[in-house]
Structure formats: C-alpha cells, structure tokens
C-alpha cells in the first residue's frame, strides 16, 4: 500500500500528533455485561470493542468434544455500522481468519486440561473500528477471560507496530494502516514474553522488523498493566482492608 501521503512530519509528529513510540489513548473496563460469565469493554483510539466469555460448558455436539481438554472458540465479529462503508452482517473471510488466530493465541495460556469435553466461547464484537481491531479484540478477550474466572497462566495482550514513510512506529492509526508500508500485530503472554500471535504484511528489512517488534513488545507490556488495573479496579475496590 505504498503511497506518497505524508504521515509523519519533520519533527517526528504523526497525523494525530503522536511520536513514533506513543500509543493511542486506551480505556478498559471489566465486568460490564449482565448475562455473560465474563466481559470487558475496551476503547483504543477510535476502536470500541466488547468481549464476552461463556463457559466452560459442555461442548455440543458430542463429536466436537476433546476428551482431554476444553476447546477455545473465539469469534471476532464487526458490527455493520462499525466501519465507514457499511459491512454486511455475518462473518467474512477476514473475520474467520482473525477468529482463528485469536483462538489459538488464547488457547496457549488457558489451562484447558482442567475442563475436558467442554467449550469456552469468547465473543469479540467490534462496535467502532479504527485500525488495530484484532489487537484490541484480543486484549479485551484476555480481560473477559480473567473476569469469567477462567484459569490461565497469563493474561494475553496484543499490540501492533508498523512502518510509515520509511519510519518504524508503534500502534498504527487509521490513515497509517491504509497508507503505511507495513503492519505487524503481535500478541504475547506478558509474564514470560512468549509470542502467541504474530502476523505481518508489507515490507520490512530485518533491522526494521527488530525495531518494530521491540516497539510492539513494549506496547504490549504497557497495555498489560492497563488490563491488570482494570481487573483490580473492579474487584479490589470492594475488598476493604482493616488495619
């Protein structure tokens, strides 16, 4: 998607005023839905995402059951009104692919052997989209899973980096995603730095990849702290301490 559009100026400021290593504003709230077992509302730049978890519950039909562990089924869906040109409701190939890579990332950290023959459903709804929805979705899913009491060895988190006008930057915004030179979404398990999701499209030299990955990793660690804060804010605030 090479283009001559100017996305970063001589002072290193991007179209929305951010520096190369700055994230868009992020807001996370845990436990926002009444019916779901666990849920999370997340705003990331112009993205508005709700994630909800149901389960573990018996996987039906029986032939889908895994006798040794739970099946993690994430479903990423964009609302028709979430994008500039209305999207026809229902899964398209892009949503199916994103659902798959997110399911695989989540499966890595969930202690699935504790719930054989069950399914854990993770529903991610994108209500308002502005680049980086899969990272925002996975991040919200991590909080929703913890909120549902699902046992995990880590709370997964994701963040993307990219390249615009030849410069490696953190957290692409809408214009940067459309007119930039590369997009690199990354998800990690923050406690161990293990990489759970990694995709790239565009053009990066080996050096640029290392830079971009380093930025995305830093972004992940920062957002991870926000996830934890959201959970503790919801629950620790009602656990008073008596001296």
């Amino acid at each position: 998607m090479k283009n001559d559009k100017k996305l970063i100026n001589e002072e290193g400021r991007r179209l929305d005023g951010r520096r190369f290593d700055e994230l868009r504003p992020i807001r996370i709230e845990a436990g926002v839905l009444h019916r779901a077992d666990g849920s999370c509302y997340l705003e990331w730049g112009g993205n508005k995402i709700i994630a909800a978890v149901y389960g573990p519950r018996e996987a039906i039909p029986k032939h889908t059951q895994n006798p040794l562990k739970a099946i993690v089924n994430a479903r990423y869906n964009m609302a028709a009104f979430s994008v500039e040109d209305r999207k026809r409701p229902g899964p398209d190939r892009r949503s199916v692919e994103i659902s798959k890579v997110i399911s695989e990332a989540l499966e890595n950290v969930i202690l699935t052997e504790q719930f054989p023959r069950t399914m854990i459903n993770v529903n991610i709804e994108v209500l308002d989209a502005e680049a980086g929805t899969r990272c925002a979705g996975l991040t919200a899913a991590g909080v929703a899973l913890a909120d549902a009491g699902i046992p995990m060895v880590d709370i997964p988190v994701a963040c993307a980096a990219g390249k615009i006008n030849g410069q490696v930057v953190l957290d692409l915004g809408k214009e940067e995603d459309n007119y930039g030179d590369a997009d690199l979404p990354v998800a990690i398990a923050p406690r161990t730095d293990e990489i759970l999701l990694l995709q790239m499209d565009g053009h990066l030299t080996l050096d640029e990849f290392e830079q971009a990955f380093e930025l995305a990793h830093k972004g992940c660690l920062y957002v991870s702290e926000l996830q934890k804060k959201a959970l503790l804010e919801k629950y620790a605030s009602i656990a008073e301490e008596v001296s």
């Binding site: 839905l33 009104f81 409701p89 709804e125 308002d128």
Partner: protein, 260 residues
C-alpha cells in the same frame, strides 16, 4: 437452551395471581430506561439503549443506491438485527434465525408505517439515485424485551443521524429529515396476567406477546403478536392502553435524550 425450573415458573404465576411481579413492578410499570446517542463515530447515527439490564445498540449507515421500482422518488430503508452470541448464552453464531428476522421486520414496520423518516426528501435523481438508509441493530445484553429496546435505540439513532452528503460529494451534510416518532411498547401474557416490559424471567414463561407502536396522538401505527398462546379482545385492549400510557413517558425520555 437454558432450562426454566418449574418452581420459578410456578412462583411467577402465583405472584401474578396476586397482581404482583417478581421484581416488584406493577403490571403496567416499565423498567428504568437510559438512552445515549452518538456513540459510534463511524456511523451516521447511533444510540445505545438500556432497559433494566437489557442493552441494545443501533447504528445508522447511509449510502447512495437505486430506488425501488414502485417508488422511484423515495429513499430506501432496510433494517437488520444481529442477536450476537455475546448477549446471551442461548444465542448461537450463524445467519439470522426467525427471532432476529422477526425483530428486524417489526422494528422496520414501526419506522416505515409511522412515516417518521421523510423518504420523499431523500431522492437525489428520480428513478436513478436515492439515499439508502441501513438500520443495524446489535443486541449487547439480553434481559428481556428486545423489541422495545431495539425500536427505541433505532429511533434515538435516527434522530441523531446526519446525511453524509459531503462524503458523497453532493452537497453539505444535513440532519436526516424526520417527523414525529412512534413508540413501541411490548407486553406478554402468562397465567392470565398481562404485563408490560417483560424481564427475561417473564419472557421465558410467556404464552403470548404483543407489541404495539403508537404515535403522539395515541393512534396505532404497528402491531405484532408473537408466540403460540392467545389473547382475548379484552386483553388486547389492556395492552393497547398500556402502550399508549407508557408511550407518553417513553416519548418524553426519547426527546430529552435527542435534545442533548
């Protein structure tokens, strides 16, 4: 599907015989309503409505397209609803089933038959180009009465919609031309009791359901009966009265929310 315990069903019915509801409301009393508009930046209009714990988001998108052959100088309106698995353990992923389609069509009729949108003002070139309005209803949390929450969210979204003429390079943006909104009120019947704004518990045991949309004159604009039970004529009159009465208050809440 979640099983409803017989004990719960029996208890709700027993309370109904004494004129009581499980959450303490009167038969003709509505839960608290909250409306928030302009919540989706990509949509031309949007609103989130909460009725009790039920939460619905409606988004309005507009595009330019061909008119219907039998109304060449009128805009086109199309409504769809997604009962996404997020909102309830009983919603499954997949193409819209009967429930989603009925919901979309009932909301659509309420909007269309009340003529709240001045479709004749949405013509660009007669017979060739008109504005197309897409109403998309996204259920977020299901705790009963999706019909009313969806209708209300749709109206609130419409009343804050801006026609995106600039983006299509045919002039300046302007507010969607609208008239008086209809208000939809749903009631259900169980054990001979007819109650307004059913909560999930009440919907689960409902035998019959009736949605009535009324305008500011108290005239009826749309009706839909659902489920396999029946109503007597007297019960239908009760439902219409409850719809008109509650409609007044709901209309007031809607207009307040839009004015902000």
């Amino acid at each position: 599907m979640t099983i409803i315990p017989s004990i719960k069903r029996d208890y709700l019915c027993k309370l109904a015989e004494q004129g009581k509801r499980i959450d303490g409301r009167r038969f003709d009393e509505y839960r608290s309503i909250s409306i928030e508009t302009n919540i989706i930046s990509k949509a031309e209009g949007s609103a989130r409505v909460k009725i009790g714990n039920t939460q619905v988001i409606a988004g309005i998108k507009m595009d330019i397209g061909e008119p219907y052959p039998d109304s060449p100088d009128q805009g086109v309106l199309t409504t769809s609803a997604e009962l996404v698995p997020l909102a309830s353990p009983d919603f499954e992923a997949g193409p819209p089933g009967g429930e989603a389609i009925e919901l979309a069509r009932v909301v659509d009729r309420g909007v269309r038959e009340s003529e709240v949108i001045e479709l004749d003002k949405l013509c660009i070139t007669p017979g060739e180009e008109v504005w197309v309005i897409f109403i998309d209803i996204h259920i977020i949390d299901h705790d009963g009465n999706l019909f009313d929450a969806s209708s209300l969210a749709t109206l609130a979204a419409l009343f804050t919609t801006t026609v995106p003429a600039k983006r299509f390079e045919i002039g300046e943006d302007y507010p969607l031309p609208l008239k008086e909104p209809p208000v939809s009120v749903t009631s259900v019947k169980f054990n001979k009791a007819v109650v307004v704004d059913p909560s999930l518990d009440e919907e689960d045991i409902a035998e019959a359901r009736l949605t009535v949309a009324t305008d500011s004159n108290g005239d009826i604009r749309a009706m839909q009966k659902g489920l396999s039970g029946s109503f007597t004529r007297e019960e239908i009159r009760k439902v219409i009265k409850a719809s008109i009465d509650n409609g007044i208050e709901i209309r007031r809440i809607l207009m307040n929310a839009i004015r902000k």
